[in-house]
């Protein structure tokens, strides 16, 4: 537990030291959404229909931006070997890193999503569904993406491979997240897709840390 806290503190400290790196994903998120707005006719009502897809894809892409660095910096400066040798199980270390990544990257996007959704013309009744979906979905992106980042950590061109490997794995979360908002927009019950998202999150939370730690160890062999 204290080891997890130590990793959280370190991630926080690093985010404060390298502020531009930390602010990049939310900024990218806003820019992508704005570009979609500019790319369509002014006040096009169809934009509201596409809003969930735009927001979800923008969140996905901006999270991918930082994932590559997640373990690579630690591999390069030798921190990862020390983490491997510590008494704390590597799976716990991986979980702490991934949750830290979500708190610093995913959470700001969740908070930004509501005003941006209103800007895209999403009715205020379906905004809570969107935010709830992103709150459940962005940790999935951090976990699954973090696993792939662990797989590709030692590779010189891992950054190119990362999106291609993450996107098929994240499809279900994307479908349920955007589907929930569309259901809400059509006045249907959005409960079911949100529960599915929660199920995916719980599954990722239990499985991914173990398998990510195996991937990290593989980087040394």
């Amino acid at each position: 537990m204290s080891a997890m806290l130590a990793i959280f503190r370190r991630e926080l400290l690093l985010a404060m030291r390298a502020r531009t790196e930390w602010l990049m994903p939310p900024f990218f998120f806003i820019v992508v959404v704005t570009l979609f707005g500019l790319g369509t006719e002014p006040n096009d009502p169809k934009l509201a229909a596409f809003a969930p897809a735009i927001l979800w894809v923008a969140a996905l892409l901006s999270t991918l931006l930082t994932l590559e660095r997640l373990f690579r910096a630690d591999l390069e400066d030798g921190t990862l070997e020390q983490l491997c040798l510590g008494a704390t199980p590597l799976a716990v270390v991986a979980l702490a890193k991934l949750l830290g990544h979500w708190a610093l990257t995913g959470l700001p996007l969740v908070l930004l999503a509501a005003p941006l959704a209103v800007g895209l013309g999403v009715t205020s009744a379906s905004v809570p569904t969107l935010v709830a979906g992103l709150a459940l979905g962005t940790p999935c992106i951090s976990l699954i993406g973090g696993f792939v980042a662990a797989l590709t950590v030692g590779l010189p061109r891992g950054g190119l491979l990362l999106p291609a490997l993450v996107l098929p794995l994240i499809t279900p979360a994307l479908i349920f997240g955007t589907g929930a908002v569309r259901a809400a927009q059509q006045g249907l019950d959005a409960g079911a897709p949100l529960y599915f998202l929660a199920a995916i999150l719980v599954l990722s939370l239990t499985l991914i840390p173990w398998i990510a730690s195996a991937a990290l160890r593989n980087a040394f062999d």
Binding site: S2, L5, R9, L14, D77, T79
Partner: protein, 166 residues
Amino acid sequence: MHLRGANGAGKSSLLEVLAGLRRPAAGVLRRNPDPLPLHWVGHRNALNPHLSAVENLRFWCEFNGQAVQRVAPALDRLALPAGARRRAVRTLSAGQKRRTALARLVLAPRPLWLLDEPLDGLDVDGIATFAGLLSEHLKGGGIAVVTSHQALPKDLPAVREWTLQR
């Protein structure tokens, strides 16, 4: 134990296998069910360049469940100047970084030290400091496996030298 050998002979790889970081390419490694607690100093310093020396060592203390009060004495022991302790590690010289990495050895007593080229970047003073540290560890009954392409400092107790051939 002092491991020597030409570049590429496999000193670092052997050390990584001993630490349990890497699996041997062939053969079986039998693991002690109750392994000795060990300190590992690889050829990379395990210091984040954006954090200061103190912050880096504090993290390792917290991660390993040691008291953070030990950081300052450890850096004193390695004679890292006060002015260098609060600066980001990326601004330090190679020798200062190495001293900070070696300060981890002092944070907690552990019976087994695995050190990969610990003398890299150290100046004459630094080597002397390290020699003092190592001989104290050995006199206290500790074990150390050290790779180094240069000769280890004299007056160390019970050094056995192994040379790896390609």
